[in-house]
Symmetry: C2
Subunit: 213 residues, 2 copies
DNA sequence: AGCGGTTTGTATCTTTTGTTACAAAATATG
DNA sequence: CATATTTTGTAACAAAAGATACAAACCGCT
């Protein structure tokens, strides 16, 4: 559990001192339970989050309610969409869900605009965030457009393992299917194939990646 | 053919007077032939383009050289990727090709950074551009992930017709396939189906959209 | 141990998209 | 106008992914 002071200090290497001071007086600590959705498409955004601990999942939901994973926001990062939407007072175009219990530092949108002008380190942080997300999203497009589902699944699992630091992944086939935008049956089929090929082991609610993968 | 003065005046309603003046002294006119590629992935970017006339196609090329259309840049617009890459002195992650003969006003990157701070209208323009492109790219992801190729093709043709202001579209099946990330044969098949259904007429190098579409 | 809900395995069938191959039609070019 | 090149049409087949249906395995809980 962070104090605002401790939270702000996490960004000591990124932001200039004056900005850190402003951050301390203007921001708000917030806790979110794993699984909770913080932001839905269409919702207006009043504050921008800096993630202190935990992970957020950012996904896209289309008109028919179909969802697809875009990227994860990790400790010390923020969300490019929220920045841009916030600054243009535009409603959200994405969904943001806490993957695990998470803590965030919220910066209200009315101070943010000034910071872009006053603090080069803030401007840099914003632009770097946008660039990173653009790059990730374009990579996603490559994969969705040209890669087979089997390959996307393998990448997804490897990512997960890397993110959690464990080769034992706690997910149902249904959850995986949701993230990749396909059905449970398809995922079960592909996973079974991978198991037969000695790439992984399947358990109830779990997937254990093997070194062969 | 524009003079710099005339070119700058195109942005009178978007930029504040002081910025227009700076734009006039700092920017450079440029002409590009239809079909010419201005920017490739990996290339470093030294200036940001404001499009005066014509159209640019922005596409993504993956490691295997497969290409897919992302969006078009039209008159009075600019490219979000170029902004962000430029500001972070990062190489390009996209390809930019002139669809038709085009004229652009190029702003060197070293003045741009200051403009973000000095001119609210510039900052606004940049953020608005980024937001618009983010939105478009996310729409693309929706389509690629969940829509059938037949629907994507129809949308593509409608877009083209709207952009050129004519229901007679000058494209080969191969070109369409390239933009949608699929093969010529597949496009021919789908187009023929649409023709049989009285949605369009097929000619050599041309597709004529009918009102049924 | 038994029950109820959740998760996984699997078969079957359909649809969509990709691939290859070849011929015909349209156009460009000398 | 004769020939080369580009574009289009189409068949036949393969692979990938989606849909449906049902059974079996697993887990939490009493």
């Amino acid at each position: 559990m962070f104090s605002v002071k401790a939270a702000v200090s996490k960004f000591e290497s990124v932001f200039e001192p004056a900005l850190l001071a402003e951050l301390e007086t203007n921001s708000m600590l917030m806790t979110v339970k794993g699984g909770d959705t913080m932001l839905n498409p269409g919702q207006t955004i009043r504050a921008v989050p800096l993630l202190l601990s935990g992970t957020f999942k950012v996904s896209r939901v289309n008109d028919e309610g179909q969802e697809i994973l875009l990227y994860y926001v990790k400790e010390g990062e923020s969300c490019a969409m929220t920045f841009t939407c916030c600054m243009m007072s535009h409603f959200s175009v994405i969904r943001g869900t806490a993957e695990e219990d998470s803590e965030l530092l919220c910066v209200p949108m009315d101070v943010m605009d000034g910071w872009m002008v006053k603090y080069p380190t803030w401007k840099r942080f914003v632009m770097q965030t946008i660039l990173n997300r653009f790059t990730e999203i374009l990579k996603s497009i490559d994969d969705i457009a040209f890669k087979k589902l089997a390959d996307r699944l393998v990448n997804y699992l490897k990512e997960k393992a890397k993110a959690t630091g464990s080769s034992l992944i706690n997910l149902t086939h249904q959850q995986i299917g949701d993230d990749l935008g396909t059905s449970r049956v398809v995922i079960s089929r592909l996973l079974k194939k991978l198991e037969i090929d000695n790439k992984l082991l399947l358990y109830y609610n779990q997937v254990k990646l093997l070194s062969e993968l």
